[in-house]
């Protein structure tokens, strides 16, 4: 195999994992932007999306239906957790962060309790491997990247073009002033929790299509998702997507050139480097909501 073929293949691999991480990062960055809450349990939301997919596929459902179920289930979970827990922490986002730390333990162990701590996997939903001029391309990876691009494009369209997106951006920029325009900011906060959770559910479904997962998969994934959100600038959804792309290329590149044992370190090295040079991230973030003065 020529070096360039390996390179392309590795970039593709990097991008498919980065897709899942980007889906987490969007949720992390949106929730932080609107509420100031850093939800570290977002990785567990992703893991539960994977578990739901595994349960559905094991029960004989097709993968597409399993994905939809994962999105709905985790979206619903996000709704319940926001209404039941996080909304009481809106005045002090640090409390929301602490709640999320507790949720990590609870969610992991609920899954262990019912479905044991072992690895879970599903048969690959797409098994075709294309050979294009010596490059072997696994169709399942292309599927993951394509779905992510479609979802991200749709989210961008909603955020830039619709009145709801405009109101969401206004609420991220200044919650109080948004309320003065008649925007029901609290409902947007619930909406963002549901949307962010649904994206994590999708991410979990896509992840288990690529790799086996365990009830503890969420930890590393959310750390990377958080790193990507920070690199792009917390609160900046465009930044999160761009940083996810950068991370995918960097990880793929490093794996292709023989430093694969360091793959997990790159996102964090990149994060540290970016934060030293540009403390608000590459594309500029918010510092969380302005509190009522």
């Amino acid at each position: 195999m020529r070096a360039v073929d390996i390179f392309i293949q590795q970039i593709l691999n990097g991008l498919s994992i980065a897709s899942v991480i980007t889906l987490i990062a969007i949720g992390v960055t949106l929730i932080f932007g609107l509420t100031g809450i850093i939800n570290f349990a977002h990785g567990e939301f992703l893991m539960i999306g994977g578990i739901v997919t595994w349960l559905a596929v094991s029960a004989g459902l097709g993968f597409p239906l399993a994905v939809v179920l994962a999105i709905l289930a985790v979206g619903l979970m996000g709704y319940i957790l926001e209404r039941g827990l996080f909304r009481f922490t809106l005045e002090r986002p640090t409390n929301g962060f602490i709640v999320s730390l507790g949720l990590i333990v609870v969610l992991q162990h609920v899954v262990v309790l019912f479905w044991n701590p072992n690895q879970k996997s599903i048969p690959r939903p797409l098994t075709t491997v294309w050979e294009v001029g010596g490059v072997r391309i696994a169709s399942v990876r292309v599927m993951v990247i394509a779905i992510t691009i479609a979802v991200v494009a749709l989210s961008f369209r909603m955020i830039t073009a619709s009145r709801y997106g405009r109101a969401l951006r206004a609420s991220v920029e200044d919650r109080d002033t948004a309320a003065l325009m008649g925007i029901p900011v609290r409902r947007y906060i619930t909406g963002v929790f549901v949307l962010g959770s649904a994206l994590a559910g999708l991410g979990g479904a896509l992840l288990i299509a690529l790799f086996p997962i365990t009830p503890f998969t969420g930890g590393t994934m959310v750390m990377k998702g958080f790193a990507v959100a920070l690199i792009g600038g917390l609160g900046n959804i465009y930044g999160a997507v761009a940083a996810g792309l950068i991370l995918g290329i960097v990880e793929g590149f490093s794996a292709g050139y023989g430093f694969s044992q360091w793959t997990d370190a790159y996102s964090f090295a990149l994060m540290i480097l970016v934060l030293i040079v540009r403390p608000h991230g590459l594309f500029g973030g918010t510092s969380g909501p302005r509190m009522a003065s």
């Binding site: 951006r169 920029e173 309320a179 003065l180 325009m181 008649g182 029901p184």
Partner: protein, 243 residues
């Protein structure tokens, strides 16, 4: 009947009491001003009326209905809208997006388009800067945008907090003309908080003087202007009384 009636309202942050039992009224079509030195509690009172903070006690009624403690977005939809101190423009959004946000809660799309065109005609500078980011505007332009954005909600009561803050005398004159036009062109009553007494006295028909969180004097503008107490307390200060 009064469009807006504030009675015995007490506000505060944490252990600090700001307003200590404030009562005032605003009639349909009126322009009323609250004057007073820095820290008197004028802005806090406006925030309480707009629903950004909850009064500790007392009551606020609008159009004959009790509205005490309603959230800001509910108040805005009912027609009581605050143009906050410091403009609070959405800096990352264009002038057009800022204006359209003002119409967020409205469903009368055709009327929104008419109002949008009216704003661009009434504030020509906004038409020129339509596609520019709010953050790129000058202080005066941002103030125009903030007022126009507030008017896009179709308010029945517009609460203006220090619209002249940091503006040149020329721009203050422009703001004055705009405030005087709000009533007839947009059918809104105005409650104006100002430190620039000259501006406030020249547009309002009635006024309240607030000090240490209390209304100390109230009356028609002509009476206020002549009041020696007013002069001692307030006009003797630095703010330019000429507009």
């Amino acid at each position: 009947m009064n469009l807006l009636a504030v009675s015995d309202v007490v506000t505060g942050y944490g252990p600090t009491i700001v307003n200590r039992g404030v009562s005032l009224t605003l009639g349909e079509g009126e322009i009323v001003t609250i004057l007073g030195p820095n820290g008197a509690g004028k802005s806090t009172l406006l925030k309480a009326i707009a629903g950004l903070i909850r009064p500790r006690s007392g009551s606020i009624s609008f159009d004959g209905t009790e509205v005490t403690g309603l959230a800001a977005d509910v108040m805005a939809r009912r027609g009581v809208v605050l143009v906050p101190e410091g403009r609070k423009i959405f800096v990352d959004m264009t002038v057009e997006e800022n204006l359209r946000l003002g119409a967020y809660a409205r469903r009368d799309d055709a009327a929104v388009e008419t109002d949008f065109a009216t704003m661009l005609a009434f504030f020509p500078i906004l038409a020129t800067k339509r596609r520019d980011k709010g953050g790129s505007l000058s202080g005066g332009q941002q103030q125009m945008l903030a007022i126009a954005r507030g008017l896009m909600t179709r308010p029945r009561v517009l609460l203006l907090d220090e619209p002249s803050l940091g503006l040149s005398p020329l721009l203050v004159k422009e703001i004055k003309a705009i405030i005087l036009g709000i009533g007839e062109r947009f059918g809104a009553s105005v409650l104006l908080v100002e430190q620039n007494a000259g501006l406030a006295l020249s547009v309002a028909s009635r006024g309240y003087l607030m000090q240490n969180g209390r209304i100390v004097v109230s009356g028609a503008i002509a009476e206020l202007r002549d009041m020696s107490l007013m002069r001692e307390l307030y006009l003797g200060g630095v703010t330019g009384a000429t507009v």
